[in-house]
């Protein structure tokens, strides 16, 4: 069955994030000969259109304007609403990201439509789209469909295959005017403070180095950051570490906090409380480093090292430096 899909590109620092390529590949697979369109919304983002074409978009709508430099629900929903009304897609994909999570339900409500959030898989089951998504932060999963109307979905990074870009596949680029004026915005972003984290976003990181109560202090995260730097990894934390004030809550991984599914998760000094395991046990490979051989984290770890993280982590950093330099 041919269907029309629209993918709202997710941008970070003006660049399309990989999750958008994953959504485009899924859209391509599900289109059944129908059109896959993508939307680029922002300021100075037109240059990203080519990449969206190579990743499977037949058409790219570019909506640019100074008032779109920062995400605000009012401006972005007005723009995307207009795109949806004119392109009339059957399915709209967003990233399950800071923007997508905020924008998708606003539009779903405006269109009186159903939405599936945090999708980790999607299949065409005899003409119907069936989505798989985690519940209880990954302690369980459901398969969900939306029998009628437009389908809105947010796609979890790192779960659907992105596919290789094909420079031979180009998209028709259509520039769309911005349908709003400044006064219409009911919330305004006054400032953006970049936090001094490693710069790799936790939810999209391929590798995560994570610390728990065992890091003992804010200073104790230092060897973890050094390991993360060698690996190009993001740094996360358990609730115990956040509650103890060793790190910011934005780093927390677990049922409260972020749910992550990287290729490699290195848990340092994390015992493995159920609420933490929920947030990370669907990672592809888990390494646990902990002094306590009875720590529950070892039950979900593919590889375990029983030892003091302050001894093991620097050794691991040195070994990786050596091996990765080869």
């Amino acid at each position: 069955m041919a269907r029309k899909l629209l993918v709202i590109a997710d941008l970070r620092n003006g660049r399309v994030r990989n999750v958008t390529h994953e959504a485009l590949a899924a859209a391509r697979r599900l289109a059944g000969g129908g059109e896959v369109a993508a939307a680029l919304v922002g300021d100075g983002v037109a240059g990203q259109a080519e990449g969206l074409g190579a990743h499977g978009a037949d058409k790219v709508y570019v909506v640019e304007g100074a008032e779109l430099a920062q995400y605000t629900p009012d401006a972005y929903s007005a723009v995307v609403e207009r795109l949806i009304r004119s392109a009339d897609p059957d399915v709209v994909f967003f990233a399950h990201s800071a923007v997508g999570r905020d924008l998708a339900p606003k539009l779903a409500a405006r269109f009186g439509a159903g939405q599936v959030s945090d999708v980790v898989d999607v299949a065409d089951d005899g003409g119907e789209l069936v989505f798989t998504r985690p519940i209880y932060a990954g302690k369980a999963f459901t398969r969900v469909k939306i029998p009628e109307g437009k389908v809105f979905a947010t796609i979890r990074p790192n779960n659907l295959p992105a596919g290789e870009p094909d420079s031979g596949h180009t998209a028709v680029v259509e520039t769309v005017p911005v349908p709003l004026s400044g006064e219409a915005l009911r919330t305004v972003v006054k400032d953006v403070v970049q936090k001094a984290t490693s710069g790799v976003d936790l939810t999209e990181a391929k590798i995560i180095v994570s610390g728990g109560r065992g890091v003992k202090s804010a200073e104790g995260f230092k060897p973890l950051y050094e390991l993360a730097e060698v690996l190009g990894a993001a740094v996360g934390a358990s609730r115990a570490a956040c509650d103890a004030g060793y790190c910011d809550y934005s780093m927390q991984i677990g049922q409260t906090g972020k749910v992550v599914t990287p290729d490699l998760y290195i848990a340092c000094g994390i015992s493995g409380a159920i609420q933490h395991l929920a947030g990370m046990s669907n990672s592809k490979v888990i390494v646990a480093i902990n002094k306590d051989p009875e720590a529950p984290i070892f039950k979900v770890a593919n590889y375990g090292i029983v030892g003091d993280l302050f001894e093991v982590v620097p050794m691991l950093t040195e070994e990786l430096k050596k091996v990765l330099a080869e």
């Binding site: 339900p105 959030s117 969900v144 972003v189 490699l264 609420q275 050794m315 691991l316």
Partner: protein
């Protein structure tokens, strides 16, 4: 200031999930206020303490959710509303329609909600409610200030912080880090039982099962494959570290 908090009763995050006949088993489970909603309740009470006013907590869910409302009342909320009519249980579309109808029966300047629930985790309902009420929202907030008719919020955007301004009436969703919820005091618990609790039926909200029926349909609920539990490396630490790096490169191919 009139503040409304939407909240949900959820499993405690330390609970394991067990399936029985394809459904999640609830017997013997400890229920709590959804942790994100608990931040919302706490913030509402702090705003009231600062500015005066009234805090109304609203929940949609089975009758057991009344217990969560009583906890919020014991923390310091003034009035509870429960909608426990099973005809109004559905998906996020349903919940937002029902909550919006219930909210419309009460005056409000600020609506506070958790940014998501730790059970379904879809993070849709609060934003949908704002849209249905025709008011703006600020999502995943870690700091909130209300002064001179202006709302200033710190929004968590993937580790960055956006400083966002808006004006009431407005809906704000709570993110972890917003505050540390208080425990109800003994006096609070005693008072909670005397505070008013209103129950709305579908008819009272002008809804019937048809008008707000779910858009999504759950076909199956399943548990992830259990992890086999892996290899605990042996030998001296240096050898273990070498073996680990080797395995991650050649066997797992993640480096």
């Amino acid at each position: 200031m009139n503040i409304i908090v939407c909240m949900k009763q959820t499993f405690d995050t330390e609970e394991r999930i067990v399936l029985e006949n394809g459904k999640i088993k609830e017997d013997g489970v400890k229920f709590v206020i959804n942790p994100y909603d608990e931040y919302a309740v706490e913030e509402a009470i702090r705003l009231k303490e600062q500015h005066g006013g009234q805090v109304t907590v609203i929940t949609l869910g089975p009758t057991r959710a009344e217990e969560a409302l009583r906890t919020a009342l014991a923390m310091g909320a003034d009035e509870g509303v429960i909608i426990d009519d099973p005809a109004l249980f559905g998906d996020e579309y349903t919940a937002s329609r029902v909550l919006a109808k219930a909210i419309e029966k009460h005056p409000y300047d600020i609506i506070l909600c958790g940014n998501q629930a730790v059970d379904d985790g879809s993070g849709q309902v609060a934003v949908r409610v704002a849209e249905l009420l025709g008011i703006p929202h600020i999502g995943t907030v870690t700091k909130l200030e209300v002064a001179d008719g202006k709302v200033t919020a710190h929004r968590d955007a993937e580790g960055d912080v956006e400083i966002v301004e808006g004006r009431p009436p407005i809906l704000v969703t709570a993110q972890q880090g917003l505050n540390e919820p208080r425990y109800p005091s003994l006096i609070g618990i005693r008072k909670a039982n005397k505070k008013p609790l209103t129950r709305y039926t579908a008819a009272e909200l002008g809804l019937d099962a048809g008008t707000a029926s779910a858009k999504s349909e759950i076909l199956e609920t399943f548990l992830p494959k259990p992890k086999a539990g892996g290899r605990i490396l042996q030998g001296d630490l240096a050898a273990q570290v070498k073996e680990l790096v080797q395995a991650l490169r050649t066997e797992e191919k993640v480096l």
